[in-house]
């Protein structure tokens, strides 16, 4: 691996930001962290994770799709797509990096979402190994190695050094740009990992298993009488969905600007009463059904369509943020008990 002293991190950011737009996680005054466009002097957040996930970079909360211009009685349709600029997201944790590949399965398979693809093509993901997980973490349940995240290049950081190694051509190119800042290090990925591996086994959710779930479990869980009790406290907000790195549903809306129409999409949440509302009404009438949708999607429907891959990466954001502390872990444990 290559390494750089952590005292010199900002040199690294300065150099990278010169070549392309760079986003790094920074701490906010209110205690949360968020990705921000790097500006000189910004300090890398040491938080475990940002409040919002990193999916915004490829799948932003709102995004204009097209415009209609009205001139007298004519309507002109305007394609507003343009090539995205190159950008680097630095410090993405393993869970969030995995979420990109889950989103890819949705947006890069036919029909390809050109908006998503455009951003994906221009984005470089520099991941960061996890050394300080929280009690809400359970990525390992989904086969993610928090110490060896995916991405274009992967960083590992201890108290002294930041180590970097490329995983893809994009990652190589990134390191190339700033290679003068690095020195070689004999530290191997395994050596680094072994220092922290033990922490993960001490996590309260370390034993969580997904064995009971998968694409073939529709019949077992769909009509479970546990859903009623589980969904009872759900207030139907979209917090879990909006902080979730893998929730990928959106709604398309038109906005009349007075001079024309902007058609945009925005995140939607299956927790909302108007989710997938159609001309005849809403297929999911009660909060129970909407609540069930979210967890069935992540634990059953998604794996059913994606070779068994679950639609959750165990980042723990929903555990931390749900106003009523109802979450996927409780759902998994409760449903399992029934079996």
């Amino acid at each position: 691996m290559l390494r750089i002293s952590i005292d010199r991190l900002n040199e690294l950011f300065d150099a990278a930001a010169e070549k392309q737009t760079l986003y790094i996680p920074v701490d906010r005054e209110d205690g949360g962290a968020e990705y921000k466009k790097y500006e000189k002097g910004m300090k890398l957040s040491r938080s475990l994770n940002t409040v919002r996930s990193a999916k915004d970079f490829f799948f932003p909360q709102t995004e204009d799709l097209m415009e209609f211009r009205v001139d007298k009685k004519n309507i002109e349709v305007k394609d507003i797509r343009s090539e995205a600029e190159d950008f680097v997201i630095f410090g993405v944790k393993a869970c969030d990096v995995r979420s990109f590949s889950i989103l890819d399965k949705v947006y890069l398979s036919d029909p390809v979402d050109s908006f998503y693809k455009n951003r994906r093509n221009h984005g470089v993901v520099i991941s960061m190994a996890c050394t300080h997980p929280a009690e809400t973490c359970f990525c390992t349940a989904f086969g993610i190695d928090p110490l060896s995240p995916e991405g274009d290049a992967v960083c590992r950081m201890d108290n002294d050094y930041l180590y970097i190694s490329a995983l893809t051509d994009k990652g190589n190119a990134f390191i190339e740009q700033i290679s003068h800042l690095f020195e070689d290090s004999s530290e191997t990925e395994e050596e680094f990992g072994s220092k922290y591996r033990d922490i993960f086994s001490r996590l309260p959710l370390a034993g969580l298993s997904t064995d009971a779930f998968g694409g073939d479990k529709l019949d077992e869980y769909f009509n479970s009488d546990k859903w009623g009790e589980l969904s009872e406290s759900c207030i139907g907000c979209g917090t879990c969905t909006f902080v979730c790195p893998t929730c990928q549903c959106y709604d398309i809306k038109d906005f009349d600007t007075g001079n024309g129409i902007k058609r945009f999409r925005c995140w939607d949440s299956c927790m909302y009463s108007d989710f997938t509302k159609m001309a005849h009404g809403n297929p999911r009438l009660t909060q129970l059904e909407r609540f069930r949708q979210r967890f069935m999607h992540k634990l059953v429907y998604f794996p059913a369509c994606n070779n068994g891959e679950f639609g959750c990466v165990g980042c723990g954001r929903c555990l931390a943020r749900c106003p009523v502390s109802m979450n996927i872990v409780k759902v998994m444990k409760d449903l399992e008990v029934k079996k």
Binding site: V70, K72, K73, D256, G258, G281, N282, L285
Partner: protein, 663 residues
């Protein structure tokens, strides 16, 4: 998609001179949904209306926008035209490009641009208009007249004459009002009592008329055609049905030191009394504040002397509930309190009096039998100064900004009568202007000046000071000769401004009718609907609407009666369809709307609903009575969920207008 027709009016040159009407029609023709857009000289003319009607039929229009004068002017005209062509009248919108555009802007380019925007807003709105149908509600064939002065009496008589029942509510023990206190009337100098009392008697005798004297309206609910009114009949401690009005009780009553209101306190009455000889109903009333029996339980003389046993010390206030189709307000006026006018020494000297007090002093039925004597020493006054505009046309907070209208004429009358009866008296009248518009009014005034030599002096009295010798020192300025005048007067008469009766304001609140800042009731239109209030079914009679003399009052009283009769003739009335309505599925039943509704039009019902989740739920939801709702829209803002909306001014319609105007 709507098929909208746009009709731009030139209004001769009123609009066309500053707004390029052709450009407006052209621009609006490009708006979505507009299938025809044209301009014409006078849209409101017969041929203009024909143009609209023909277009509606030819193009199958589903919306009409007229760019013209204010909707307050011709909205109804165009709605009727649309209706006659088969289009729902509420699918018509007016863009006001005259009063709010061509008349206020001079630059053609900007006026035209604004006219186009106003037109676009109307087009945007009409896209969202819905056909509205006015509902109907029944009319109770009975009228209520509030106030039993000459206005109320005349109105009641006219309504009764037309064959409808009418109730008069009068707060005093007798009807008659101010006119009953007057001596002679201008400009004919006939005796007020002689012309009023027969009418009072007629009221009492007319079987269609019921008089609630010594009564007050305490609650008004309901709406045009069906007002539910609660009347408080104050305890008079005399059984009206038994009392013959013989007056024996009033003679024997030992408590005789009560100032007599009817004579403006110049003499006294007993605790049980009949206000005056011609009172209607001629029934005694016990004044509980002064009756020994009611105060201490010791006396009972009246009860002993009453031969018919009409005295009832235990009588209580009673409440009567009646339903009326129409209500006429005739609450009249009062002279203002002159307590704040120290400079005229009104509070200091008994010889400084108001004109109304003078009426009593000069009245044959007055305290001195019609001989004019000074209140202080009961001597004949030789020098009398009249001061005009005391509190009228006043720009400070003590008085009223308006002209009280009747003072010039009654002062001329007073001056003339005094000079006629006591030619040795010097009469001075200080005035700002003498206003005498009215039939035979100016001739009357000139007679006072020319024939009776009343000294009219343009100028204001600065100060009146009682002197040790009993005279009143009057300092005044003569604005024409520019001299300071000094007159030693025996009597000073102040023409106090008149103001609406104090009960008018709370009554207006009960009736939900509009008042102006002076507490005069506001008419629905100052020119075209002068006797109607803006609240349907409430009519205005007499001085409650503004200062008036007797002939005007009577004229208005009859006009109000005819409007009320017009309403009572109908079996049902059409309601304003621009009312609030609640989307029951969205309503929370939280009662916010109910709390802000001035009309009590919103009630709550428990109703079963099939909810979006297909469960059946019993829910509390708001329900608007469209006949009661007047369409103010207060509820629509109080409602957080937007369940409450207003026909004709819906949230989406107003927002569409906002969008069009701001873009």
């Amino acid at each position: 998609m709507r098929k909208i027709g746009v009709f731009v009016c030139h209004c001769g040159t009123n609009i066309a001179a500053t707004v390029d009407v052709k450009a407006v029609a052209e621009a609006l023709g490009h708006e979505p949904g507009v299938v025809v857009s044209c301009e014409y000289q006078y849209m409101c003319s017969e041929s203009g209306q024909e143009l609209i009607k023909d277009s509606i039929k030819k193009h199958g229009l589903t919306g009409v926008v007229i760019c013209s004068c204010s909707p307050r002017m011709h909205e109804n005209t165009f709605r009727k035209a649309a209706a006659s062509a088969g289009l729902n009248p509420y699918l018509v919108e007016i863009a006001n490009i005259r009063e709010q555009c061509s008349w206020i802007h001079k630059d053609i380019a900007s006026a035209t641009e604004k006219a186009i925007i106003l037109g676009k807003a109307a087009v945007a709105k009409i896209h969202l208009n819905t056909p509205l149908t006015a509902g109907e509600s029944p009319v109770a064939k009975k009228a209520l007249v509030i106030g039993g002065g000459i206005a109320g009496i005349q109105t009641a008589l006219d309504i009764a004459e037309a064959g409808f029942e009418v109730d008069i509510v009068e707060k005093k023990p007798t009807i008659g009002g101010k006119m009953a206190q007057l001596d002679k009337t201008f400009p004919t100098l006939d005796c007020a009592a002689c012309i009023l009392t027969p009418k009072m008697v007629e009221c009492a005798q007319n079987e269609k008329i019921h008089i609630y004297s010594y009564s007050e309206v305490t609650e008004v609910k309901g709406f045009v055609g069906s007002f539910n009114v609660t009347i408080k009949k104050k305890a008079r401690f005399v059984d009206e049905t038994k009392c013959t009005g013989c007056g024996l009780c009033t003679e024997k009553c030992p408590m005789k030191k009560v100032p007599n209101e009817f004579n403006m306190g110049f003499d006294n009455r007993s605790a049980v009394y009949i206000p005056f000889a011609q009172a209607v109903p001629k029934v005694a009333v016990i004044d509980p504040a002064n009756c020994m029996m009611l105060k201490t339980g010791k006396c009972g003389v009246c009860s002993k002397v009453c031969t018919v046993g009409a005295i009832d010390y235990k009588q209580q206030d009673t409440y009567i509930n009646e339903t009326y189709g129409a209500i006429v307000v005739a609450t009249g006026y009062d002279p203002i309190d002159l307590g704040k006018y120290d400079e005229f020494a009104y509070s200091q000297s008994p010889d400084v009096i108001t004109s109304l007090e003078l009426e009593r002093l000069m009245n044959a039925a007055g305290p001195d039998g019609g001989t004019l004597l000074r209140p202080s020493d009961k001597k004949h006054p030789h020098t009398i100064v009249f001061v005009q505009c005391v509190g009228s046309r006043c720009d400070d907070s003590r008085g009223k900004p308006y002209c009280s209208k009747i003072c010039c004429m009654y002062t001329a009358k007073h001056a003339m009568l005094i000079r006629e009866k006591y030619p040795d008296t010097d009469v001075y009248v200080f005035y700002i202007d003498v206003r005498t518009p009215g039939k035979n009014f100016d001739e009357f005034y000139r007679r006072a000046v020319e024939q009776y030599n009343v000294h009219y002096i343009k100028g204001m009295v600065g100060k009146v000071e009682p002197k040790a010798d009993g005279k009143l020192s009057v300092q005044a300025s003569d604005l024409i000769s520019r001299e300071q005048l000094h007159i030693d007067a025996d009597l000073v008469v102040l023409a106090a401004a008149i103001e609406p009766d104090k009960t008018a304001r709370p009554l207006a609140t009960m009736l939900t009718t509009q008042m102006d800042t002076n507490d005069f009731f506001t008419e629905a239109h100052p020119k075209l609907r002068p006797v109607e209030s803006a609240t349907a079914g409430i009519f205005l009679s007499g001085a409650c609407q503004g200062p008036k003399d007797i002939p005007e009052t009577v004229a208005q009283a009859s006009a109000a009666a005819s409007k009320a009769i017009g309403l009572l003739c109908k079996n049902s009335i059409t309601c304003n369809p621009c009312v609030a309505h609640s989307d029951e599925l969205m309503c929370n039943g939280c009662s916010s709307c109910e709390k802000v509704c001035p009309y009590g039009a919103i009630t709550y019902i428990n109703k079963e609903f099939t909810m979006p989740d297909r469960t059946v739920a019993l829910r509390r939801v708001a329900s608007v009575n469209p006949a009661v709702c007047q369409g103010c829209g207060a509820c629509t803002v109080a409602c957080p969920s937007g369940a409450m909306d207003l026909n004709g001014f819906s949230n989406s319609q107003i927002m569409a207008e906002v969008d069009a105007i701001c873009k």
